[in-house]
């Protein structure tokens, strides 16, 4: 048990039930050797942040297709911060217009993936960002 694995939470905030993308991405990340905690549907920002904290994840990925991202994504961010998880790599996906994506990136979201983003690209991007971070921490967290 000595390898450092990337731990990711894949969360579905809000009321929409479209989990096709979230589940596919979760599976692809698993195939890239990551340990993925999938929260299930209909999560509040508080629940997502609490799970992220208990699981001590490195990455939180949110998927939303209901148009409520501007209401929910910032709340996830602040709930995470309230639990000492402000450093977590935060990404999102779904139907997010570019100007919203910009606003969220300004608030600390590392990257927003739009519809049609190749899942391989998502996985590789996370791997690259995490290996930078881990190198910065001398190989461990």
């Amino acid at each position: 048990m000595t390898e450092r694995k990337i731990r990711v939470l894949v969360g579905k905030p809000g009321l929409d039930g479209h989990d096709r993308g979230a589940k596919t991405v979760a599976t692809v990340l698993r195939d890239h050797g990551m340990e993925v905690i999938y929260t299930g549907l209909h999560q509040t920002p508080e629940m997502i942040a609490e799970v992220a904290a208990q699981e001590d994840v490195d990455v939180v990925g949110l998927s939303i297709l209901s148009g409520a991202h501007m209401a929910l994504f910032p709340r996830v961010k602040s709930e995470l911060a309230a639990r000492g998880m402000g450093e977590v790599l935060l990404v999102g996906g779904g139907i997010i217009p570019p100007e919203d994506a910009e606003a969220l990136e300004a608030q600390g979201y590392a990257r927003l993936f739009g519809p049609g983003s190749p899942t391989e690209e998502i996985a590789e991007w996370i791997e690259a960002r995490m290996s930078e971070r881990l190198a910065g921490e001398g190989g461990r967290a």
Binding site: G17, D19, R20, T24, G67, I95, P97, G116
Partner: protein, 555 residues
């Protein structure tokens, strides 16, 4: 007089073709269906085993493979029904009037997520979602606004809602009554297909068993009081959009349909009293011939099941009538204008497959709510098929095509195998609880995604013929005014202030009583609607009495 000398020495033309084929150089491509099944290069008589009387019949005749009406589109074109709904009831009411003015023939209501999940617009959990993907209807008052100035005895309205479907129908009935229209005169369809919610779309209120009871109560009430109302629109659409194959869409949907019939019969209803009011809702995806075959197979399977397995004797009980929507998942955010073309092919497949009504997606649906212009183009797409292509003149024009008949038979056989599988796992509800459908759908979605990323399945603008996207949304995107949430919340607060609290309390008690006993729940919901009980308060009673459903873990 020997024009036909070839007949003397018969040649095996099939074998000749085979040789030519073996010698031919083929393109680098995967020749499979959209679902990844290998296709032959050509189909011939040996590929179909067809008894035309038994397997096809004629349009309007058992087993309805060729269509449910004798005259098909010569009698009446399909209903052009565009799904609409956003923001407040007032805004959607205006959009409805716009669509009716432009020749649309039926209304279709999309609800926002809080409504779909049975929460009031002012519930904390609804923050940011009110009016986003559909209209917020929190009480009879909102329903009255939605239908204001629209004659409820004349239009046909489709409401896409499931978990709290009975409650929304109660609002609709009550609004009609307030317009002076008797329930017997209302026409329309409620989606009300809770089984596929657990399987694919995931907007439920309570656990499957009590949810099914609400449905049988509704079937009983409507067969007595609202005989023109289609009680369930058994939907493959969401199963497909969640990632299933065409074969899974077909099999799961029909399995769900049969489950509703079983439940109705078990509740003591005569099958012919409610089955004619069941209708279906399918996806039309880009695999043109497979889709046409799917529609034909659906009619044939349903007719056979209803007649031979459930003993229905009214031919209307045998008919699989269905609405179709073009595939939202086939649209791309990249080069969105291409979506007009995709949608046109899908719409044509639906018409060739004999659909009763059709929704064509707007090109910008993957980006946000469609704009008025793109909605109009989508509607015009249907009108072009109807008026310019001359396609609607002939019923089931592809019957007898070796390929289409072989595909139809294959899909039927695959569906039968799936029914057996579901049966062996204890039936539809146990399969839902165990996550069987969910897992199957996820697997297909995952396989498809991998195929696209590996380039085995080509998608224009995604993995071929890509372009650098301009900055910003390439087309105009319709946005919901964030004040919609406030407006809704204020409206609800005003409603709570002016309603008769004692009457609300009594109505909710009656609902609770019905949950515990055997009173018809829809009857109680109609009373609660008239007392202006909000959706969330009624739903809360149901959740307390019936318990939650937790999604099974399938990953």
């Amino acid at each position: 007089m020997s024009a036909n000398t070839d007949a003397v020495t018969p040649v095996d033309t099939r074998a000749l073709w085979g040789e030519a084929m073996a010698a031919a150089r083929l393109r680098e491509a995967s020749f499979t269906t959209l679902s990844g099944d290998e296709l032959q290069a050509v189909y011939g008589p040996a590929d179909v085993e067809l008894d035309s009387e038994r397997d096809l019949g004629w349009p309007g005749q058992f087993p309805f493979t060729r269509g449910v009406h004798a005259s098909m589109y010569r009698g009446r074109l399909w209903t052009m029904r565009q799904f609409a709904g956003f923001g407040t009831a007032r805004q959607t009411n205006e959009r409805f009037k716009f669509l009716l003015d432009h020749g649309q023939t039926g209304l279709s209501v999309a609800f926002d997520f809080p409504t779909l999940m049975g929460y009031d617009s002012d519930d904390a959990i609804a923050a940011g979602e009110v009016g986003q993907v559909g209209v917020a209807i929190a009480s009879l008052a909102d329903m009255e606004t939605l239908m204001d100035g629209i004659p409820m005895g004349e239009v046909s309205t489709s409401m896409t809602i499931n978990g709290p479907a009975s409650i929304l129908l109660a609002f609709y009935i009550a609004a009609a009554q307030k317009q002076g229209v008797d329930p017997s005169a209302i026409r329309g369809t409620l989606q009300n297909d809770i089984l596929k919610e657990y399987q694919a779309q995931h907007a439920w209120l309570v656990a499957p068993e009590p949810a099914l009871r609400m449905i049988t109560d509704m079937m009983a009430w409507c067969s007595a009081h609202a005989p023109q109302w289609n009680t369930i629109s058994i939907s493959g659409y969401h199963i497909r959009e969640a990632g299933s194959t065409a074969a899974q869409e077909l099999a799961f949907t029909l399995a769900n349909g049969m489950e509703y019939v079983r439940r109705g019969v078990a509740a003591g209803l005569d099958v012919d009293a409610f089955a004619p009011r069941l209708s279906f809702f399918f996806d039309s995806h880009l695999d043109f011939f497979e889709e046409i075959a799917k529609f034909r197979a659906a009619r044939r399977i349903w007719a056979r099941k209803m007649r031979y397995e459930f003993g229905a004797s009214d031919p209307r009980s045998w008919m699989c009538r269905f609405h179709t929507q073009t595939a939202g998942v086939s649209l791309t955010a990249q080069q969105p204008e291409n979506n007009i073309v995709r949608t046109a092919f899908e719409a044509l497949a639906a018409v060739l497959g004999g659909t009763q009504s059709l929704h064509t997606n707007s090109m910008d649906e993957t980006l946000a709510l469609p704009t008025e212009k793109s909605v109009k183009i989508a509607l015009r797409t249907q009108q072009i098929i109807a008026e310019e292509t001359e396609v609607p003149h002939v019923a089931d024009p592809l019957a007898g095509s070796y390929f289409v008949e072989a595909q139809t038979a294959r899909l039927e056989a695959e569906a039968e195998a799936t029914f057996a599988e579901i049966e062996s796992r204890g039936g539809v509800v146990p399969c839902i609880e165990a996550g069987y459908f969910q897992r199957e759908i996820h697997r297909s979605a995952y396989a498809y995604q991998r195929a696209v990323e590996a380039g085995e399945k080509r998608v224009v603008g995604i993995n071929c013929y890509t372009e650098e996207e301009p900055d910003g949304p390439p087309i105009e995107v319709h946005r919901i005014d964030p004040r919609v949430g406030e407006e809704q919340t204020d409206g609800l607060a005003a409603l709570r202030a002016r309603r008769d609290d004692a009457a609300v309390g009594r109505a909710l008690d009656a609902v609770r009583e019905a949950c515990r006993g055997t009173d018809n729940l829809l009857e109680r919901f109609v009373q609660a609607a008239h007392a202006y009980c909000p959706l969330g308060e009624i739903s809360a009673v149901l959740r307390e009495e019936f318990g939650h459903f937790k999604e099974p873990q399938i990953l």
